[in-house]
Symmetry: C2
Subunit: 309 residues, 2 copies
Amino acid sequence: MCNLHGELLEAYDNYRNELLDAGLLLGSGVEGVYGLSGTFEGIIEAFERYVTREGAELKPEVMRFPPILNRKTYLSTDHIETMPDLMGSIHTFKGTQLEQLEMIDKKNNGEDWTVKLAPADVMMVPAACYPLYPTAANTVLPEEGRLVDLRAFVFRHEPSPDPARMQIFRQREYVRLGTPEQARSHRDYWLNKGQEMLKAIGLPVQAELANDPFFGRGGRVMAATQKEQELKFELVVPVATDKKLTAISSSNCHLDHFGKEFNIQTQDGNHAHTACIGFGLERITLALLKTHGLDPEKWPAEVKQVLDI
Amino acid sequence: MCNLHGELLEAYDNYRNELLDAGLLLGSGVEGVYGLSGTFEGIIEAFERYVTREGAELKPEVMRFPPILNRKTYLSTDHIETMPDLMGSIHTFKGTQLEQLEMIDKKNNGEDWTVKLAPADVMMVPAACYPLYPTAANTVLPEEGRLVDLRAFVFRHEPSPDPARMQIFRQREYVRLGTPEQARSHRDYWLNKGQEMLKAIGLPVQAELANDPFFGRGGRVMAATQKEQELKFELVVPVATDKKLTAISSSNCHLDHFGKEFNIQTQDGNHAHTACIGFGLERITLALLKTHGLDPEKWPAEVKQVLDI
């Protein structure tokens, strides 16, 4: 284990333990899965109201999706090709009473009791915008395109001691569907606005060119292409430690990726382009608690004023 | 198909289609899994603030858990014995690149591509209070017991055309941990208060003795015992149709069931008793929309006043 790795682990452990000791996070016994205190949730709620206020003049459609989505929708995307190691597939018991007894026996003997479970019609949501696209499938967008305000829990199977790398967390997003120009200008607008918003609450964010964590060898090529085309920017900030910056927001151009997969068209008959800004609500809260201290009542007056808390 | 069944199905279809046409629900292609419009979510938020106000004088601890929980916690309960058919077990891909290609081949050939997925360390939350108990495991409660305010998404694998029977929905709960008397009086207090609260927003609820949907032949005995001991009451109201009443809230005594499973003790060294009131947030919203109409701006003034919308 190299020194940096050791230092990082120590920083993760220290901050995680501080949060657990303060009761802001509640341990579940699984890395990256926590309960949240009322104080923690209250900061998320305040930040969400801030996002709503800042986006209000754009008059977005508001949609809220649950943490699960149609298995067919999942398979309509390329997630199984690009990030299969992060997926959550939901399985259930569809057997008889006899099969139940066999399953319980397996469990009691410490064997894998899940072997006969059947896949349900649903998967965990991998990103907040995935459930949106099928609702727009096979439509032609109005000339001005569409702007949608989303929030959802998303699942990423990546257990980690870093308190900022949760297996389940909430993304608040503004997604634009439209022409290439509409999508690109949405991304650029929010990349800039997101920085202003986060700086206004005392988070010293920087924009960084980034890539998604694509799987395997082919993934390295995809990541390089994504960077070359400057499709993904993250707003990063120190959370557990100054030694490593953590993304708390990301602004992405998807080109016509989802437009093609779900046959969403613009007036000119081309496939729609999409773009989004996503705010990682738990990470932003963790960054605020690290930057301003664990007691929001003692945060700087100007931060409390912007967040209206 | 008997007449009542046919009538019910028609009523479910009618109300579901009304909600979909109004854009209040967004179809996912899977029964019981919907996106919600901003209006629908706004009603949930208003009802939640109402619950918070009504519970404030009791000074509950506030905790918010995500929709997944530790697989070990799940197995510490008897859910696999009592309601296995409702479970959601989360599985993921932990293989190599070669195994990924085999999985994708299976998917492309229309075979079951999930066969080699591995169980992750987490399961879907079956009821909002399940993640709470391990956080109190092996503790002795203070003399006054504890009162916890919870909200979580819960998963129940029961696809249904009834818009009020969702596979994933939110429960808002007040859970009491304490002596048998503390638990029982919490249940009785909220059974009464819950009725008052729901009647105050124009929902003509009735209290009904009820039982959990236990699985199999043994389940029928458990259900009968639960009823005999008067452990579970539901507040029911017409939603899609007057022909069948739907539970929108339930008040439950768990006796020392969870106290034993998680070794939570009272001062006298006995296992703690627990009790809860749960509000089904999506169902309450569906009941309000059915009772007062699909446009909350046109709801009766007294309902809007109580909900502060």
